[in-house]
C-alpha cells in the first residue's frame, strides 16, 4: 500500500515539532521520504535525484509559516516545485502553420496512439471547427488500419482510404497530397507502435518525419509506465524530435510518475491526457492535478477545496476533538453523514482519493450507498435529543418508534446502533494506534455499515 506523502512527512515531523526556519537536517529527513514517495510513483531515479536536489535548495532556511506544520510546509514546497517542473497548463495542439497541418503520433506498442489520434481529431473537428483527415501508417499490426477507419466513422472524421501494401512514407505523402487537394486543415498521422531501440522502425518513422515535416510530433505514453519512461522519451526525442507528450490511461490508478520523468528528460510540454477509452475522454493537462497524483495525495487540491466549501471548519474541529475524547455520540454521527452527503456523497469523495479502485470495491462489499446514508440520517432524526446523546437508552420499544418514524425497520435501527458502537470502539483504538491505524483499516473502517 502506498501511503501518501503528507502522512509520511507527518511522521517525520511529528518527531521534530519544531518551528522557525527549516534546518538542513529537517529537510534531509523529509527528502528521504520524498524520494521514496516519488520512486513508488514510478518517477525515474535520475529524475528523482535532480528533483530532490532542487527541493532541497528551495527548502533549507525557508521560514515555516506560523499556521502550518513543518511537514505541511515541506509538502507545499515539494508540490510547488513539482508543479513547476511539470510545466505550464497545456495549450493544446499547435495548429499555427499553413494548412494542412501534419500531426504525427508516436509511441511504444499499445500505448494508445490510434485511440488518441481519433480523440484529438474529434476535438479539433467539434471544438476548433477544423477539417481533419486521419491516416494510419500502421502497416504492421493486424487490423490496425481498420481500427482507425472504424474510429473515423465513430468520430465522423474522414480517414484516408486504405491501399493494401502501401508503405508508411507513401501513405503519409498521399495523406498530405489528399489534404492539400481537398482542403483539409489538419492531417493526423497514426503510426505503428515501435520500440525506441528498434533501429529499423525508428528509421522508418524518421523518414516519415522528413517526408511530411510535422508541426506536432506527439509521444503517446501510458501513465502506468515505470522507470523505462526516461529511455523511451529520450530516444524518441533524439531520433524523431518531439514537440509534446500525451499521457494515456490517466483514468487508471497509477501514480503517473512517468509524466515527470518524460517531461524532465525531453523538456517537452505534456499537452494532453487520455482519460478513458471513449473518443471524448480527452483532457487538457493540469500540472497541479498531476502533481497531487504523483505525490499520492489524490486530487487533494480539489478535495481540500471542496471540503473547505462544504464543511464548516469549526464543526469539523469540534467533531475531531470529540472523537479523540471518545465522546462520539449519534449527533456527531448525523453530522458526519450530513457532511459526507454535502461533499457529493460517497462517490464524490471517493472519486478524488488515490487508490480508488480498491476502495470502491471495499465500499461495494460493505453495501454502502448514498441511499443508505439518507436512511441512516432519517433514523437519527427520528430519535429524541436524549436518545442521540445516550444511545444506550434505546431499547426495544424506542427502537420500534424510531423505525416507524423514519420509515425503516428495527433491524436497520439495530444496525445503525451497532455501527455507532463499533465506530466508538474503533476511534478509541485509533487514538491508541495513531495515524497508522487509520491507514491500515482504511476509510471503510470508519464508515457506516
Amino acid at each position: 500500500m502506498f501511503e501518501n506523502l503528507s502522512n509520511r512527512l507527518g511522521e517525520v515531523f511529528d518527531r521534530l515539532r519544531k518551528r522557525g526556519a527549516l534546518s538542513e537536517a529537517d529537510v534531509d529527513a523529509a527528502l528521504r521520504e520524498v524520494r521514496v514517495a516519488l520512486l513508488e510513483a514510478d518517477v525515474a531515479l535520475p529524475v528523482v535525484k535532480d528533483f530532490v536536489a532542487g527541493v532541497k535548495e528551495k527548502a533549507v532556511g525557508e521560514q515555516v509559516v506560523k499556521s502550518v506544520t513543518p511537514g505541511q510546509m515541506v509538502v507545499k514546497i515539494v508540490h510547488d516545485h513539482l508543479v513547476e517542473t511539470l510545466g505550464a497548463e497545456s495549450k493544446g495542439v499547435n495548429l499555427n502553420a499553413p494548412a494542412p497541418v501534419p500531426v504525427l503520433m508516436l509511441g511504444l506498442q499499445g500505448s494508445g496512439k490510434t485511440t488518441s489520434t481519433a480523440k484529438i481529431a474529434l476535438r479539433l473537428k467539434t471544438r476548433d471547427k477544423r477539417k481533419v483527415l486521419m491516416a494510419s501508417l500502421d502497416t504492421r499490426r493486424p487490423a490496425a488500419q481498420e481500427q482507425l477507419a472504424i474510429l473515423g466513422i465513430q468520430a465522423d472524421v474522414p480517414t484516408l482510404p486504405i491501399v493494401p501494401g502501401e508503405p508508411p512514407v507513401a501513405i503519409a505523402r498521399r495523406a498530405m497530397q489528399t489534404a492539400r487537394l481537398e482542403g483539409y486543415d489538419v492531417v493526423m498521422l497514426d503510426t505503428a507502435g515501435r520500440l525506441h531501440v528498434d533501429d529499423e522502425l525508428m528509421g522508418e518513422v524518421a523518414a516519415v518525419r522528413d517526408a511530411v515535416k510535422p508541426v506536432e510530433s506527439l509521444l503517446v505514453a501510458d501513465a502506468m509506465t515505470g522507470q523505462d519512461a526516461v529511455n523511451v522519451a529520450k530516444s524518441f526525442n533524439e531520433r524523431v524530435g518531439l514537440t509534446g507528450i500525451m499521457l494515456t490511461r490517466i483514468d487508471g490508478d497509477a501514480r503517473g510518475g512517468a509524466a515527470l520523468s518524460m517531461r524532465a528528460v525531453t523538456g517537452c510540454p505534456i499537452k494532453l491526457l487520455g482519460v478513458g477509452e471513449k473518443l471524448d475522454a480527452l483532457e487538457d493537462f493540469h500540472p497541479d492535478r498531476v502533481a497531487g497524483r504523483i505525490l499520492g495525495m489524490g486530487d487533494v487540491v480539489s478535495l481540500v477545496e471542496k471540503a473547505a466549501e462544504t464543511i464548516e471548519q469549526e464543526e469539523a474541529e469540534k467533531l475531531a476533538a470529540r472523537m479523540q475524547k471518545g465522546q462520539f455520540d449519534l449527533n456527531d454521527l448525523a453530522q458526519q453523514l450530513k457532511q459526507l452527503q454535502k461533499m457529493g456523497g460517497l462517490g464524490g469523495v471517493m472519486g478524488m482519493l488515490p487508490g480508488i479502485g480498491k476502495m470502491q470495491k471495499q465500499l461495494a462489499g460493505a453495501k454502502l450507498d448514498d441511499k443508505l446514508l439518507g436512511r441512516q440520517q432519517a433514523i437519527i432524526s427520528s430519535m429524541t435529543k436524549i436518545e442521540r446523546r445516550k444511545p444506550e437508552l434505546i431499547k426495544a420499544s424506542r427502537k420500534q418508534r424510531i423505525a416507524a418514524g423514519s420509515g425503516t425497520t428495527v433491524q436497520e435501527v439495530n444496525k445503525l446502533l451497532k455501527q455507532h458502537q463499533e465506530m466508538g470502539r474503533m476511534m478509541k483504538q485509533m487514538n491508541k494506534l495513531g495515524k497508522k491505524g487509520l491507514m491500515r483499516h482504511g476509510l471503510g473502517g470508519l464508515m457506516p455499515r
Binding site: 531515479l45 481498420e146 525506441h196 487508471g252 470495491k361
Partner: protein, 318 residues
Amino acid sequence: MSETETTQEAAAKRGWFARMREGLSRSSSRLSEGITGIFTKRRLDDATLEELEELLIAADLGVTTAAELTATLRRNRFNQEVTPEEVRAALAEEIAKILEPVAEPFELDPAKKPQVMLVVGVNGSGKTTTIGKLAKALREEGKSVMLAAGDTFRAAAVEQLKIWGDRTGAPVIARETGADAAGLAYDALVEAQRAGVDLLLIDTAGRLHNKADLMAGLSKIIRVLRKVDETAPHDCLLVLDATTGQNAHQQVEVFREITNVTGLVVTKLDGTARGGVLVALAEKFKLPVHAIGVGEGADDLRPFEARTFARSLMGLDS
C-alpha cells in the same frame, strides 16, 4: 526422433534463449555497466550497496524489494573484496531463488476437453497478440485450438483476432462489435465442446482494474461460462506489460480477486523495460509466470526461465 530434427530443435532452442538474452541484455546493459563501474576493485561498503540498490530500483524492482535484496547481500558479503562478476552472480542467484517457484510453463490437461482459458489484462498489454502466439505454439504441438473474440468493445478487435486465427489455423468464434461479451463466450464454449477442441482461448476487452463496472463484466463472463461447464474457465491468464511500473501490483491484486488469475504472461520484454516488478510480484502473489513476450510476431513467445531471466537481468550469460 531423427538426428537432424534434434539438431534443429537444439538450434531453435539456442535461438530463443539467445533472443531473450538479446532483448534482456539491452535492458540490462546499462544496469550491468553500472554495477561493473561501481564494483571494480572495491570493497562492498555502504556506499556501494546504496548505489546497487538504486540500480535495482531503476530496473523497476521497487523500493522495498530493492532494499531487501541489498540487505541480503549486505548480510552475506559486507566488507568483502568482491569482483563485479561475483556481486552480479550473487544478486542473480537471490533473484532466481525468488522467481524459481513461479516459473511454471503452461500445460494442457488432456482430461479437460476443451480446456478453457480466459485472457485478461489492462488496455494494450498484449492480450490478443499473446493469444495468437499461444495458439501458434499449441497448434505446432498438434493441439486443436479455438479462439473466442470476447473483445466486443474496441474498434477492430474482432478483425485483429480473426487475422491471428488465420495465421495460426485456429477457428475464431465472433460476433459483431457491440455484442454481449458473455453471450459470445457462452456460444464459443458450446461450439468448442461440440467441435471437441483441446483448448478454447477467450480474448477479452482491455480494462483498467479500478473500473468496477468493467471488472463486473469479467465476472459475468465467468458466470456464464460456468453455465456450460461448471469447471470453466480452467485458466485465467493475466497479461502484464513489462513497461509497467509499480502499478502492476494493483493490477495483479484486483484482477486476481475478481477473476481468480491462475497465471501471468509478461509482454514486451524485447524493449529496454526490465520487467523487474515481476520479482516483487513473485514474492507477493506467487502466481505462476507461464511465458514472456519478446516481440510482435507469432513466434515471439518464450517460456519463463527463472535463472535465465535473473541472470540476464544482471547482464550475465546463462
